[in-house]
């Protein structure tokens, strides 16, 4: 196992820049998740780390030494692909054993027919079989050793792909949306298994996903990417509670954050739809601001922080529901509110309130601005977050 360092990775395909100057340090044994909209360059970054694609500039180091000149297998990194990429004509056993047979047997011993002449081969194959079995036991796949990948279910294929990655004892695992082809229930199950596996192996893992819950629950740190840049890197709680930009705020959290246009008043106070909120910002670059409030932080009722909305519809999620509103002041702005299912459904125009400490304020470039609350509660919270 080893940590990974990326410095100034750039990649363009033709005219389109896919990665712009990516710097990333991944500690030994860390579980880092890459999230971001489709096409933002996550898979490309993984392929560059694995050596399957070459970067235009920048360098990749593993365990402190540069691996830019090494070929994929020499980097001792394993990758799990989204569609598993198992060898279709080989049995499960052969799929998992292949990385070992390739490195331990010489060319002569791998040739058909010839290989039966080698005495050494039998000994090595026994050794390999033992290791494959040990991995298979961990993943509970021994019972279909002799089947082909085509005869397995998605979850079983997933485990075989993991087994093929694990058997080499790689320095790091790269996983490109490994659970995205599974049904919801199996995904939850595999999520737990992967987390346990990570804990057991203590392996460095870089994990790409579209799934919010996977990103929030599994990772030590989260990197939010967009258009080839890392927008924010931090613990899941950090990214959720203090999104660095509006793009991050919109991407993390489900349903997506509510964004309102606001202005800075003369004293630095934030004015939202004609109301002065009990929060202040210092050194905002422009008077225009964006205020974001997560749907789960909104509730029906009045207060110092509130917006007036008209009710449209309700989405039932079982224990909770999502209420859809339009902003009365500008009806094209949708406002979402996530509440317990028990509360009565509002009618017509109602105020939606939120706490000052739940406001995320961004400048007109979408960058986060730290707010100061006027009331004591907000200040306390601010200090608490600084301590952490």
């Amino acid at each position: 196992m080893a940590g990974l360092t990326l410095r100034g990775i750039r990649k363009t395909f033709g005219d389109t820049a896919v990665l712009n100057d990516i710097d990333l340090d991944i500690a030994d044994g860390e579980f880092l998740t890459l999230v971001g909209p489709s096409g933002c360059g996550k898979s490309t970054l993984l392929r560059i780390i694995a050596g399957l694609e070459s970067q235009d500039s920048g360098s990749v180091s593993i365990g402190g030494t540069s691996v830019d000149h090494l070929r994929p297998h020499e980097r001792r990194i394993a990758m799990v692909f989204q569609n598993y990429a198992l060898y279709p004509h080989m049995s499960v056993f052969d799929n998992i054993a292949l990385p070992l047979t390739m490195t331990r047997l010489n060319l002569f011993e791998r040739l058909p027919l010839m290989r039966h002449l080698s005495l050494r081969r039998r000994r090595i194959m026994n050794e390999i079989a033992r290791e494959v079995r040990a991995v298979a036991e961990q993943l509970r796949i021994e019972s279909f050793f002799h089947r082909r990948p085509g005869q397995l279910s998605g979850g079983q294929r997933q485990r075989v792909a993991l087994g093929r990655a694990m058997v080499r004892h790689p320095q790091a695992f790269l996983m490109d949306e490994p659970l995205s082809n599974l049904d919801a229930k199996l995904r939850v199950h595999m999520r737990g298994e992967l987390t346990e596996l990570h804990a057991r192996l203590g392996a460095t893992m870089i994990y790409v996903t579209h799934d919010q819950i996977e990103a929030m629950t599994m990772s030590d740190r989260l990197a939010v990417m967009d258009h080839g840049d890392i927008l924010q890197l931090g613990t899941p709680a950090d990214v959720y509670e203090r999104p660095a930009t509006t793009a991050v705020a919109q991407f993390i959290g489900s349903p997506a954050i509510n964004l309102f246009q606001a202005r800075v008043g003369p004293g630095g106070q934030v004015e939202l739809l004609g109301r002065t909120l009990p929060i202040e910002v210092r050194n905002a670059p422009t008077p225009e601001l964006t205020v974001g409030v997560r749907p789960e932080a909104m509730r029906i009722g009045g207060g110092p922080c509130a917006v007036t909305c008209r009710f449209r519809r309700r989405e039932n999620l079982g224990s909770e529901c999502i209420l859809h509103f339009d902003l009365v002041a500008s009806p094209e702005v949708a406002v979402l509110c996530r509440v317990d299912n028990g509360i009565p459904i509002p009618e017509g125009e109602v105020p939606l309130a939120f706490e000052p400490r739940d406001c995320h304020v961004f400048d007109n470039n979408g960058r986060r601005i730290e707010v100061e609350s006027r009331n004591a509660a907000g200040r306390d919270l601010r200090r608490a977050s600084e301590v952490r």
Binding site: A50, H73, I77, A85, P88, P99, T103, R164, R168
Partner: protein, 291 residues
């Protein structure tokens, strides 16, 4: 129950089945007509092979002769012409050509389909260009070159011009193009070298295409008269069609029954091989989208 049946009255199962039967019968009638048209020469060959000389040119065509003369025809064909020797020659030439074609074309096609290197588009255009050149075009320079090398009248001279098949490169390239990149990348991560990726990982999935190409190749070279006629004058080296031609001229010339028997013998291996490979062949044609 009853009322709904009387109101809507959907077509009865029997009517549906009848309609299906009629359309099936029509389609099959057309297909059978085509098949009969194509098979007629073969049927003529087969029946002639078992007819006595007097019956072959009778005005009325009969499928089964009045007098079964098959033994005599086959016996005289086999005794006059060294047919088994021709079959062996055909086997050597076609087998040699096919093996080298596959050994050369498969790695080429893989490189064109899956590796990135400068000049790849140009090389592929050259392959396409090569598809447009008929074999007859370079035959004179090839003949002269072989004469200079002193390899006329050898198996090698019959095989060598066909070792590099642009058609095979093209066909396999199209097939490999659709092979998932992720599997190849996984193999690279597992430490499989490019040559072994070709032969261990990609080729096992390409059997349908290989079977299809093998049939094309073997049929073409088994039946080829043109090139063996140019480079071979020794009857001991003659391929089946060339051998038949020699003997049609000289000894068997007027014995049409024996000729037909000889023709039957030299076409039989192909037909049998096709029947064996039929499943793969058809799968390969549909999978490569060539049809």
């Amino acid at each position: 129950m009853r009322t709904s049946a009387t109101i809507t009255r959907p077509p009865t199962p029997v009517a549906i089945r009848m309609r299906r039967l009629v359309s099936l019968a029509l389609v099959h009638a057309v297909l059978i007509g085509g098949a009969v048209f194509m098979l007629l020469p073969f049927v003529f060959m087969l029946t002639s092979a078992i007819k006595p000389p007097g019956e072959i040119f009778e005005a009325t065509f009969r499928l089964w002769p009045r007098q079964f003369y098959g033994w005599q025809n086959f016996e005289s064909a086999l005794s006059t012409a060294p047919l088994l020797r021709f079959l062996l020659n055909g086997l050597i030439v076609c087998g040699g050509i096919l093996v080298v074609q596959l050994l050369v074309a498969i790695p080429c096609a893989y490189a064109l389909a899956k590796l990135k290197f400068p000049g790849r588009p140009i090389l592929f255009s050259l392959v396409l260009l090569g598809l447009c050149i008929p074999v007859q075009a370079p035959s004179l320079p090839l003949y002269i070159a072989f004469a200079e090398l002193g390899i006329l009248n050898t198996y090698l001279s019959m095989m060598m011009p066909f070792f590099l098949s642009v058609f095979a490169i093209f066909l396999f390239r199209q097939f490999f193009k659709s092979y998932p990149d992720e599997i190849i990348q996984a193999a690279r991560l597992d430490g499989v070298g490019e040559f072994e990726i070709v032969w261990r990982i990609v080729v096992p999935s390409a059997w349908p295409a290989i079977a299809a190409f093998s049939i094309f190749s073997v049929v073409a070279h088994w039946n080829d008269l043109y090139w063996p006629l140019i480079v071979v004058s020794d009857t001991k080296l003659a391929t089946p069609p060339l051998g038949m031609m020699y003997f049609a001229d000289s000894e068997l010339g007027s014995n049409y029954g024996a000729l037909a028997a000889g023709a039957t013998i030299i076409t039989a291996p192909l037909v049998i091989a096709f029947l064996i490979a039929r499943r793969h062949f058809i799968a390969g044609i549909t999978m490569t989208g060539i049809k």
